[in-house]
């Protein structure tokens, strides 16, 4: 028990050190590398958010590209048109996207699996169309140009400084989601994933909780969208298409469903492959598609399944850890 805890702490320490050292190692390698690093962490936020929805709660979404764009536009419009500070616009983009996610999540209450994928896929098509059409607000295809945020008088202009802002958001997100999953609400999400009927007969409000998890997942994705907009400093209707929604799903499936380390691993792997190969044009999507296909056929439980979790060897029965043990030892069973 104690050795296991030590092992966990040691692993966490290594990951933390690696995350803190990453920009100083990677960024001297050139601007493309620092771009890949920053984008990887932004996509980590999206992947963790999507895994909360898909891996932990069993609902598929092909609409996260659209949530990302909503976050971008909300944050850009608030800072540019209303001159609000980025530090207010960032959480507000989460709130607006979260409310939208709740509305999209309402039909999800009655849908599952393929039907939900189709319904949310429509959202990924609709948002770019609306952004293009509603040009009075969004400036159409000419786009918006939000600025890098500043801390007091210090502008986070360098990729290195911005990296730590994104990393901080990711860490806060992981802490929130980890605690959420241990709470009554989080257990309700997982109960719904395992069996809606069993959850309902145990007094879980299935409809409300399904819409709620959609809303939380969308909210975090909105934060990623805001971070992206102020990082790239350009927002246009073509930023994220339905193909990006595919990539987000690929991230969590390649990394590992219902696993936060899996989401992070998957986001880094898929994003790096995608960006590094982007100069090869069409070959890039062939490569990414092939990785998705091979990952599903060869490692159906994701890359994280390749390592044996320490507590998988001897199951614990303490009341505190039981939720986590069942989550990681048993296969994530997504209906």
């Amino acid at each position: 028990m104690t050795s296991e805890r030590n092992l966990r702490m040691a692993r966490l320490l290594v990951v933390a050190l690696a995350a803190l050292a990453a920009p100083f190692v990677v960024m001297p390698l050139g601007s493309q590398m620092s771009y890949i690093l920053d984008m990887s962490v932004i996509f980590c936020i999206v992947a963790v958010a999507l895994n909360l929805l898909t891996g932990f709660s069993g609902q598929v979404s092909l609409g996260h590209a659209a949530f990302l764009m909503v976050g971008e536009y909300v944050s850009s419009l608030l800072t540019l048109n209303l001159n609000w500070s980025f530090w207010i616009a960032l959480p507000l983009s989460a709130v607006v996207t979260g409310i939208l996610g709740f509305l999209i999540g309402l039909p999800a209450v009655r849908l599952s699996g393929n039907f939900l994928a189709v319904a949310t896929m429509g959202f990924s098509f609709a948002v770019p169309e609306l952004a293009l059409k509603w040009s009075g607000l969004t400036n159409g295809s000419s786009g918006l140009m939000p600025l890098r945020p500043a801390l007091g008088s210090y502008v986070l202009g360098s990729d290195q400084a911005y990296y730590f802002l994104i990393l901080a958001c990711l860490v806060v997100q992981i802490i929130v989601i980890k605690n959420l999953l241990k709470s009554r609400t989080g257990r309700a999400f997982q109960a719904i994933r395992d069996s809606e009927i069993a959850a309902q007969s145990s007094g879980v409000r299935v409809g409300y909780n399904k819409a709620l998890v959609f809303s939380i997942s969308a909210g975090f994705t909105g934060i990623a969208g805001s971070l992206y907009a102020h990082y790239i400093n350009f927002v246009s209707p073509n930023d994220f298409t339905v193909q990006d929604s595919f990539l987000f799903l690929a991230m969590i499936v390649v990394g590992g469903l219902a696993s936060i380390p899996g989401s992070i691993l998957g986001a880094i792997v898929i994003n790096t492959i995608n960006q590094l190969s982007s100069s090869f044009g069409q070959y890039s999507i062939i490569l990414v598609g092939a990785v998705m296909v091979l990952a599903v056929l060869l490692f159906p439980k994701g890359l994280v399944s390749l390592r044996v979790p320490p507590h998988a060897r001897k199951p614990r029965h303490s009341s505190r850890g039981s939720a986590r043990v069942t989550r990681e030892v048993e296969s994530p069973d997504v209906p």
């Binding site: 393929n114 896929m121 429509g122 595919f246 069409q282 999507i285 598609g289 296909v293 209906p335």
Partner: protein, 289 residues
Amino acid sequence: MLWQTILSGLAVGSLYALSAIGLVLIFKTSNIVNFAQGQMAMLSTFVAFQMLTRWGFPYWLAALASLVFALVFGFFVYIVFLSRLKRAEVLSQIILTLGLYLVFRGVAGVLWGNVPFTMPAAVSTNTVHIGSAVVTWYQLFIMIVTLLLMLVFYAMFRYTKTGLAMRAVSQNQQAARLMGVSLTRIYGATWAVSTALGAIAGLLIAPILFLSPSFMDSVAVKAFAAAVLGGFSSLPGAVLGGLVLGVMESVFGFYISTDLKSTFVFLLIIGILYVRPQGLFGTREVKKV
């Protein structure tokens, strides 16, 4: 004017219906939603295009080759990829077909580039007057081909042994297997036929749109919408769903806005699924505990 809008809606709608039937066929027998269907249709259409314009074959031969290619292609995709998924996990299936979507799109981009081509049509696009409406021969041709295909399909399901086996598999896999039906063969056949249906839709719609690796995207999303509208497990539902969608979209485009068609389709899907999660013609799935 309204009649004309409805007629052109029916023509487009029958193309949605064809693609939707392909989706529903696969879903009914193997419970898989094939997200790569549009891309497979796109590749098959490019095969016809290649023979027609680059190698100078006559239209009927090119179309036939495209259909044969689609049949083999669909069978191959099922045998090589989908049949290898051991457990029927919905998410793995979705990811697998999405991965194939990207691969097929990339392959088409490598082979033919992203410049849109003009695809020759099977019949002339001259106009003809029906009552007060003006439609093209091509639109009539599309509707007639669709109608004929539906009849062929109905007959195939009703009267042939393969059709009977497909119906049996969609009702109860275990029982069908015990009666000596080979699941692999039936699944493979379903994939082949569905891909061919998509290819026909692609061949018919390519002259209206431009031919490019992404030209089936908008059709594919509407085929999904049509299938959802019809309940995803009902073939007549898919046909009606496609026609209803085509007409509504056409009327919406004419009277309100053509730029917001996808948004309209999306709102329609969400709205219908909210009121009737099993679609307009689907049967409610009863879960046994």
